[in-house]
Symmetry: C2
Subunit: 257 residues, 2 copies
DNA sequence: GGATCGCACTGATCCATATCAAAAGCAGCA
DNA sequence: TGCTGCTTTTGATATGGATCAGTGCGATCC
């Protein structure tokens, strides 16, 4: 099997399709190869890992990991989107992140899960036993290296999110979110501003958005309307946003003045 | 040299005193050994790593790592406390965490630092070159394993903090903070509630507290006063808090009702 | 002991966002 | 085509915490 170019950083979501390696191909959005782990491992190692994984397909709205439960497994998403969240007894909910193709779920756990995970669309996953994780690391240090990269990248994102939740206004949160989501889907996190008129697809409901940004759905809706009225974005339908003036959004998001 | 008991999880801060191993001893607060990395490495490996580290001492209020700068080094704290934060151009600040003895700083970076770091008291650190990190990992996989544990634990904490910042009220934030700080210093993060009348030492100013909890100093002050008036805490002086009724604090913190 | 300075606390007011209420859009379905 | 139920948007009002404005208080210095 041919070798693939090294992936320099984790700006692009790291994908492993352990149970289905032939499906690894150029990303239709950005052209990069979502190989991640596969890239770091020999064929022999891959065979081993594939056998350790269980491939599953889940329908929309399935809660497959619950905060407080024993952490038996960790997962790697192959397709679809998953929301990760924590909740308070009275129902208040904070979404801590979204996991798309290539993302890992359930790494940041001790013996219990610290977040819940629920599918937002039909989702394909590879499931790994946490118990066997240590043993896998012993045999395949490359796996561990990749996971360390992933964890450190997650940490960077969560620090950004803390700034957003702790100190930004509603409008700034929405602007920040639109840009970061564009990064995520359009330029594969190159750090560049999306081009004008970039079209975003949001699999999220307004409720998800509110729970991710620490706002209410009404405030989310009003802020989006405000950006629309100012001519910075267009909203053709609920699940699409067009970024007419990304630079202006960036100025709002980073409170540049 | 004698071998030390395995450290089962990362609930206890992981300390490495690479440049000064003899100082590793039983924690006066909890009796556990703050060995962390040392525990995972052989003496021979330790000697290598010690030579890779530069030991430094910094005075109070020293900004030694700035967001946006090239990420040359990462650090391990030996003594003292460091605040990690992100700031917006207009001066708003969000503290993303505090690093005490045994904590790592600068791991979650790509080629640039994503947070700034500033000492809150006189601090002793070991400094490592990031450039040499990969090479160190090749030679000493145990180092990587430990860092993965650390990163995953940080992730757990930051998810908790997102819930706090996005969804909790001022009073809930203060109560949550007091309990988590107690965990940190008193029972070495065993997950248990601190005992009644546990005394906390806060090296933080009210401004730090506000910037960590996403509040203003006035609200922090008012919330602490409210808890005092209700008889849940006592505040002998600015840098000390006595938790008279931890269970009641927990009820507030987790919105149990 | 008194003056000065930097924080912390407390009170009064304001405002950004939450909450409450209703209308509008939209998908599924008979 | 219209009915039903759900989500989103928009409008009116309420409120938690921010902002503004003192006051208090302990440390340092003379």
């Amino acid at each position: 099997m041919s070798s693939f170019g090294k992936i320099a950083s984790l700006r692009h979501p790291v994908a492993i399709n352990l149970a289905d390696r032939p499906s690894a191909s150029a990303c239709e959005d950005c052209g990069a190869r979502h190989l991640g782990l596969c890239d770091a491992l020999s064929d022999e190692e891959l065979v081993f890992l594939s056998s350790a994984a269980h491939r599953m397909t889940l329908p929309t709205g399935r809660l497959f990991l619950e905060e407080g439960d024993a952490a038996q497994f960790f997962y790697n998403v192959n397709s679809g989107t998953v929301r990760l969240f924590k909740a308070l007894p009275d129902g208040r909910r904070q979404i801590t992140g979204f996991a798309g193709p290539g993302h890992f779920i359930g790494l940041a756990a001790t013996d219990m899960n610290v977040v819940s995970a629920e599918t937002m669309e039909p989702v394909q996953l590879c499931r790994f036993s946490r118990a066997g994780m240590r043993a896998m690391f012993e045999e395949y240090p490359a796996l561990e290296r990749k996971l360390l990269d992933v964890a450190m990248h997650e940490l960077v994102l969560s620090q950004q999110q803390m700034l957003l939740l702790g100190r930004k206004t509603a409008l700034e949160r929405i602007a920040s979110f639109l840009l970061s989501w564009a990064q995520r889907q359009e330029n594969c996190n190159t750090g560049k501003l999306p081009r004008p008129n970039a079209k975003l697809t949001l699999p999220l409901s307004r409720t998800d958005l509110a729970d991710y940004l620490g706002l209410t759905i009404e405030t989310v809706s009003r802020s989006l309307s405000a950006l629309k009225k100012e001519g910075l974005i267009e909203i053709p339908n609920i699940h699409e946003v067009v970024l007419l003036r990304p630079q202006a959004l960036e100025n709002i998001a980073e409170a540049a003045n």
